[in-house]
Symmetry: D2
Amino acid sequence: MEEFVFSYEMEVRDYECDIQGVVNNSVYQNYLEHTRHQYIKSVGIDFTELSKKGINLMVKRIEIDYQSPLRSGDQFVSVLRMERISPLRFAFVQQIHRKPDNKVIIKAMVIGTAVNERGRPELPEELMKVWGIG
Amino acid sequence: MEEFVFSYEMEVRDYECDIQGVVNNSVYQNYLEHTRHQYIKSVGIDFTELSKKGINLMVKRIEIDYQSPLRSGDQFVSVLRMERISPLRFAFVQQIHRKPDNKVIIKAMVIGTAVNERGRPELPEELMKVWGIG
Amino acid sequence: MEEFVFSYEMEVRDYECDIQGVVNNSVYQNYLEHTRHQYIKSVGIDFTELSKKGINLMVKRIEIDYQSPLRSGDQFVSVLRMERISPLRFAFVQQIHRKPDNKVIIKAMVIGTAVNERGRPELPEELMKVWGIG
Amino acid sequence: MEEFVFSYEMEVRDYECDIQGVVNNSVYQNYLEHTRHQYIKSVGIDFTELSKKGINLMVKRIEIDYQSPLRSGDQFVSVLRMERISPLRFAFVQQIHRKPDNKVIIKAMVIGTAVNERGRPELPEELMKVWGIG
């Protein structure tokens, strides 16, 4: 079974649903981003501090497989793990599972990089230390 | 009849509609904000320039009367005029009309102020000149 | 002091913030709507059931006073109470308070009505019983 | 050079930008969806008619490569073409180009299917006729 290091619970809000009565496809990206940001905060990394040093994290690619829709009122858990996939790129492997039946709703891979103060890709030490990918 | 000095045309996008098949109430605020920003740009005011001088425009109060809903695919025109309502406050009177029957969808009043570099309310000359409210 | 009968806790998500680094004005309407729907659910009213009987709840007017902005990562509590303001209209009095200092962020009044299966305004018994406004 | 059969022009709205001053990653999915729906409408397919026959179009997978960000006020053109990639699946190949320099902002592939009135995947004749993929 796939392992995840972080999980975060949320609930569908009615304004996130569209005419079909299901969560709009783009809203899952909001859920995924919020989960990543909560994870990064949980490991002690401060976006604002990084920004002040001129380091910006950015998403380069996203892949989402939609397996089953969430509906109004559904509760779900959003899980992730992080992998370094090249010297300059890392990937978040993310999934959303409905509660309480644990049905897989989406599977996603989000590939990111960091750009340093000279505008060049460079993963900062802060990230690599926390993620144990030095 | 009420007069407006600026009008801007838009079209409902499906992701803006909710389970009832109508535009979600909060989305009208997006339409209204976009119209105000297009208007401000049209009269030659540059938000970024104002910000650099430490001047920030901010909304203090909004009132919206919902008269009829917009639906998927509807085209509409968003109109406004500006009034100075006190030495430190201005109001945007805004309406959204459906096309082509001109049915009134919402009527809104948006009250704003500007805060200067010392954090005090003060309407900048740029605004007053353009709006003829000096 | 004003009394509220329902409170719901949320946290600002980064995608809800705009260029100024504060929650966009329209997003507060999402918070307010989600709070109302959670409240209505909490008192045992089922939107879907009401819809099947041809009864639709709708917002007719909203007033929001913006007192102070929420920022990335802020936690807040959204509170409300309900009042019948005329034979055919009810009002939600709503506020959002930042945590932990309890600073008032916005004050809002949301006026709604219900439309029956013949398209006429009529507050259904289910609402009046729960809200004790029969 | 890649060919596209449909193009649609839009402009970034300020509420779509986040703290970094660029369009939030999830908003591009809104742009892409709106473009697909405008395309589908342009070829004479009516979602509502399809729904009444019990046919639903759904997105199964999305891949987006983020090449360069859009900023406040940017104008852009969103282009697409359609391909049938298996008996039961079709793909929209989509790109967004900034105006007027034609810089590529994102490249995306959106894979969809249609589900018939018995809940089984089946591409309806309406689609295949229009797209010439019968």
